[in-house]
């Protein structure tokens, strides 16, 4: 495997930090300001995409920024898995920027300059996590993301926002300081390094008890992954403006949590160690509990965004489950699910936002017959729901299929049942919404039979993501290849 030294990862991270300066300076002129956001988003995507060919060749790109502690650097390393995640988030940022403009202007929100600045910062942190070469860098950007998203979550600055912001920080920063930080330092003390390696660094360095303890510290410390019982910040964070929920709480923030857990499982513990100590099953059981429980909770939620949030919690655990089964197939499925779920779920959130902008409705019970007023939005919603449930012709099926095959390969059919049950549950809480929106009787409908969509800025992005969800069923290769590449390095010596 070839290592290429390049400054590109650093640039990809920094571009959206740098753009904050003009954003603040010209905060009075909205058009120029949003042009800058666009420049940053597109620039970031181009930078990330330009590294794709190299990665697909099987090489890796490295970049050491600074040496902060003896033997411990702030360094970037772009591998296939990181690339996959960076590609998803940077491409979705472009779409979300468009959507943000429509949403924020449509509702005439306050402090838009602050909103776009912190959005840019959050994306920097996300890409930073994706490209981290070691645990310290990962932790740095993880915390940066926590603080950068706080003003976004609490954008409304009212009492409810404050309460949610409190919960958000307490769970996310609290768990990372209390659990990840000591776990990281213990790892460093045991091994003398924090650099991720495909074979893991803890193997043979620590007693099983310590390894198990560290595993739990990391698993629950990265609370952004929403593993129960550290999940309740996510529904609370839904007070944020919808674009924030869409990109951050369906893609960036929560996926960062899952990404971190996957990175730690593969890069710090290593597949072999987990398999030897049978820890994969433990993680898989924990993930399964989360999957089923949160699906059940989702069914009882009336707030559309809250239902989506619980759905997200359950879907995140799919990814962890995929990794924890410890078979190449399911690992691939887990990684690809990051992408598939991202496109599907962001569509759903965009739809929720579009409904709110157009009609001001937040609750599912108020949405009977809305398909007549907003056919495009609700069609997109249907596609997104299909993707999340895991039905063709949408991308979600590909990842779920892979995970399912993995469970059979390793003779852990119990988890297959979990997958099937949860898929049924997914269908049970998504499809009635769609059904009621389109097929309710005329006496039930709450909306006039007249097409009135949300502003174009809002509708175009959700159409784009819905179309992408379908395309990814047909052309899953980019993500699938990346995931396979990554898994290939991990399972070299199983």
């Amino acid at each position: 495997m070839e290592m290429i030294e390049s400054i590109k990862p650093l640039l990809a991270v920094l571009i959206s930090v740098v753009v904050v300066v003009p954003l603040i300076i010209i905060s009075r002129r909205p058009n120029t300001r949003e042009a800058w956001t666009f420049v940053a988003a597109v620039g970031k995507f181009i930078l990330v995409a330009s590294m794709l060919p190299v990665i697909l060749d099987g090489s890796e790109i490295t970049c050491t920024v600074a040496s902060v502690l003896p033997g411990l650097d702030i360094a970037f390393r772009v591998d296939a898995f990181g690339m996959l995640f960076a590609l998803v988030s940077s491409s979705l940022w472009i779409v979300t920027s468009v959507y943000s403009i429509g949403y924020m202007r449509g509702l005439d929100e306050h402090s838009q300059a602050r909103y776009f600045s912190f959005f840019a910062l959050s994306l920097s942190a996300t890409i930073g996590v994706a490209f981290s070469a070691n645990l310290l860098t990962l932790y740095l950007f993880y915390e940066m993301l926590s603080f950068a998203t706080y003003p976004l979550v609490t954008h409304h600055q009212d009492i409810e926002a404050r309460r949610s912001g409190r919960k958000y920080l307490l769970y996310i920063v609290g768990s990372s300081i209390a659990l990840v930080l000591p776990a990281m330092i213990i790892t460093w003390q045991l091994t003398g390094t924090l650099t991720f390696s495909p074979a893991g660094i803890l193997g043979g360095q620590a007693s099983p008890a310590v390894v198990t303890m560290l595993l739990f510290f990391f698993l629950y410390g990265f609370a952004k992954a929403g593993l129960m019982p550290f999940h309740s910040w996510l529904p609370a964070a839904m007070v944020a403006p919808t674009p924030v929920s869409a990109l951050l709480h369906a893609v960036a923030v929560v996926k960062v949590g899952v990404f971190c857990i996957l990175r730690v499982l593969t890069g710090v513990f290593g597949i072999k160690l987990l398999a030897d100590l049978n820890l994969g099953t433990v993680v898989a059981v924990l993930a399964s509990i989360t999957i089923i429980t949160s699906s059940l909770i989702a069914m009882s939620q009336d707030g559309l965004k809250r239902r989506l949030a619980f759905s997200t919690i359950s879907q995140l655990s799919y990814i962890i489950l995929g990794a924890a089964i410890l078979s190449p197939k399911s690992m691939t499925g887990g990684m690809v699910h990051i992408a598939m779920h991202a496109f599907g779920k962001i569509t759903l959130f965009f739809c929720a936002g579009a409904i709110f902008v157009a009609t001001g409705k937040k609750y599912i019970s108020e949405m009977a017959g809305i398909g007549k007023q907003m056919p495009i939005t609700m069609t997109a919603f249907f596609i997104g729901a299909l993707s999340v449930i895991g039905l063709p012709p949408c991308g979600g099926i590909i990842s779920k299929w892979n995970i399912a095959v993995g469970t059979l390969e390793t003779h852990q059919a119990g988890f297959l049942v979990v997958l099937l049950v949860s898929s049924i549950l997914n269908a049970a809480y998504f499809l009635p919404i769609v059904y009621k929106a389109f097929f309710c009787g005329p006496e039930e409908t709450l909306f006039p039979d007249k097409i009135k969509e949300a502003p174009l800025w809002c509708v175009v992005p959700l159409v784009v993501t819905a179309v992408l969800s379908i395309l990814m069923f047909i052309f899953p290769q980019p993500f699938l290849t990346l995931a396979k590449l990554s898994v290939g390095t991990l399972f070299i010596n199983p």
Binding site: A66, D108, E109, H156, Q157, I177
Partner: protein, 496 residues
């Protein structure tokens, strides 16, 4: 002239203090004009000294009066002291520039006396750090203390009583240190630190040495405000004039911890401190108590300065605990935290001063709307808060990293737990303020545009504030250099 730099860092401020005292009678504004270049020279000289020590990799020893030790007094500027010298002079310079306006407001017709005391205070601290003589240290300690008492007592209201308690308790502390030095003198006959360090290991059986050690340490603990002996600190810092507490909070306790490190490692030598007398475990437990109690007390405060004072008490626990873990990691963490905590404390106290520059903001509830009115100060405040919480890449994270590593290496899990606990409490503390400043006063959010007039502090205060905030991140990123080139040389080789 460079060989005389150790004298210059003391003589220049001393002379400038006298000039301020004389010319300040004639013209008030001249005080700052004299003080600024003097502190500038001190800062530059300290940097040159620091550079020399690092490049030559050996301590600079300066014979005052031309008498070689142990007969005369010598300045012993090694890696540790040159680092702290740069820290003190840098912090002072930033503080001097930042508080120019505040001083004129707070001490209308006593500006000259204030600046004289101010410079003498800093001279005392510089001397404490530079000196290689145990008794000379006491004299300089008293200079710093007496000027400190005077500056604290200058506020109206409860400051008098706070200051009176500080005098009584501070004097006990200094006297105990003096007594400890007397004990050492009794058994060694010497006052020079290097000389004492060469004699003491031969006296391991004597009961006087542990007695001297304990007395010295208790004296220093009183002076630094370690938990059960911290009574004077919160009131003194809270009720002092803000231009004084912003200087004393970053420097006094940190310099006292420096003295503790110096006495433990270079007077009593690591052999005695960590193997023969072995107070380490007990002291670390005291530090654990300090961290927890400091954090909890901070949580119950409504006055911002008092809250910050209790955080200072908790931070003292960090450093003392790190030192007495007795391993290289912990001591590195303690020394690193001296530097980082001084800058962090300066930054957060200056930010509070800046917040109060138009409207008096003492209570937490006074911070309503502060973020809208003063966005730059708010940003700096957040950076400082994040550093105190201990989030990378700010410097607070890296010293905490070393302290936790040291705690784990020593197997002192309670200390590690206390550090993490205090980080979490700090997060609660600061986000409580940030919430008030950011959310309140509440309004209906949708569509309503807030038009709050931006009323930032003067550039004279703001620019040093921003520089200090940047330093928090720069220090964090250069931790590696600092540790490998400076701190690792500052710790005696026999400590592993």
């Amino acid at each position: 002239m460079t060989q005389h730099l150790p004298a210059i860092i003391i003589v220049v401020p001393l002379l400038s203090a006298l000039l301020v005292a004389v010319f300040g009678w004639i013209k008030k504004t001249i005080c700052f004009v004299i003080a600024l270049p003097a502190m500038g020279i001190v800062f530059l000289s300290s940097i040159v000294l620091f550079y020399k020590v690092i490049t030559e990799n050996q301590p600079i020893i300066y014979f005052l009066g031309g008498w070689s030790p142990p007969v005369g007094i010598a300045y012993n500027i090694d890696h540790l002291s040159s680092l702290v010298l740069v820290l003190i002079s840098g912090v002072t310079l930033a503080h001097l520039i930042a508080t120019r306006q505040t001083v004129i407001e707070e001490f209308t017709n006593k500006v000259s006396a204030f600046y004289t005391l101010y410079i003498l205070f800093v001279t005392g601290l510089m001397g404490i750090v530079a000196t290689g003589d145990a008794f000379n240290l006491y004299v300089l300690l008293e200079i710093a203390s007496i000027t400190g008492y005077a500056m604290i007592g200058m506020n109206s209201g409860r400051a008098y009583l706070a200051c009176f308690n500080y005098i009584i308790i501070g004097t006990i502390g200094a006297c105990l240190y003096l007594l400890g030095v007397g004990y050492i003198y009794l058994v060694t006959g010497s006052l020079n630190m290097l000389d004492i360090a060469s004699i003491l290991p031969g006296l391991v059986d004597s009961k006087v040495v542990p007695a001297a050690f304990i007395i010295c340490m208790v004296g220093l603990m009183v002076k630094m405000g370690l938990f059960p002996l911290h009574g004077w600190l919160p009131n003194a810092y809270t009720y002092a004039p803000s231009s004084v507490s912003t200087l004393m909070a970053p420097l006094t306790t940190k310099v006292m911890i420096y003295v503790m490190v110096r006495v433990a490692l270079y007077v009593f030598t690591p052999v005695l401190s960590f193997s023969v007398i072995k107070p380490g475990n007990g002291f670390t437990w005291i530090a654990v108590a300090a961290i927890i109690m400091g954090s909890l007390m901070a949580l119950s405060q409504q006055n911002i300065k008092k809250m910050l004072s209790y955080i200072v008490i908790a931070e003292v626990g960090y450093m003392v605990g790190g030192l007495w873990l007795g391993n290289r990691m912990g001591i590195t963490g303690a020394i690193l935290h001296i530097v980082n905590d001084a800058v962090m404390t300066l930054c957060i106290f200056l930010a509070v001063v800046s917040f109060s520059s138009y409207k008096k903001r003492d209570k937490l509830s006074d911070f309503q709307g502060a973020f809208k009115e003063m966005p730059v100060t708010a940003a700096v405040f957040c950076v400082a808060a994040i550093s105190i919480i201990g989030v990378p890449p700010t410097c607070g994270f890296f010293s905490k990293w070393y302290l936790i590593s040291g705690g784990l290496a020593a197997g002192h899990y309670a200390f590690v737990a206390a550090l993490l606990f205090s980080s979490l409490i700090n997060m609660v503390l600061f986000f409580r303020i940030i919430e008030i400043a950011y959310f309140e006063p509440f309004s209906d959010h949708h569509g309503k545009k807030h038009h709050v007039k931006i009323a930032e502090a003067s550039p004279g205060l703001l620019i040093p504030l921003i520089i200090v905030a940047c330093m928090l991140i720069i220090l964090g990123l250069y931790t590696d250099e600092l540790v490998t080139h400076v701190i690792s040389h500052a710790i005696p080789a026999e400590i592993v």
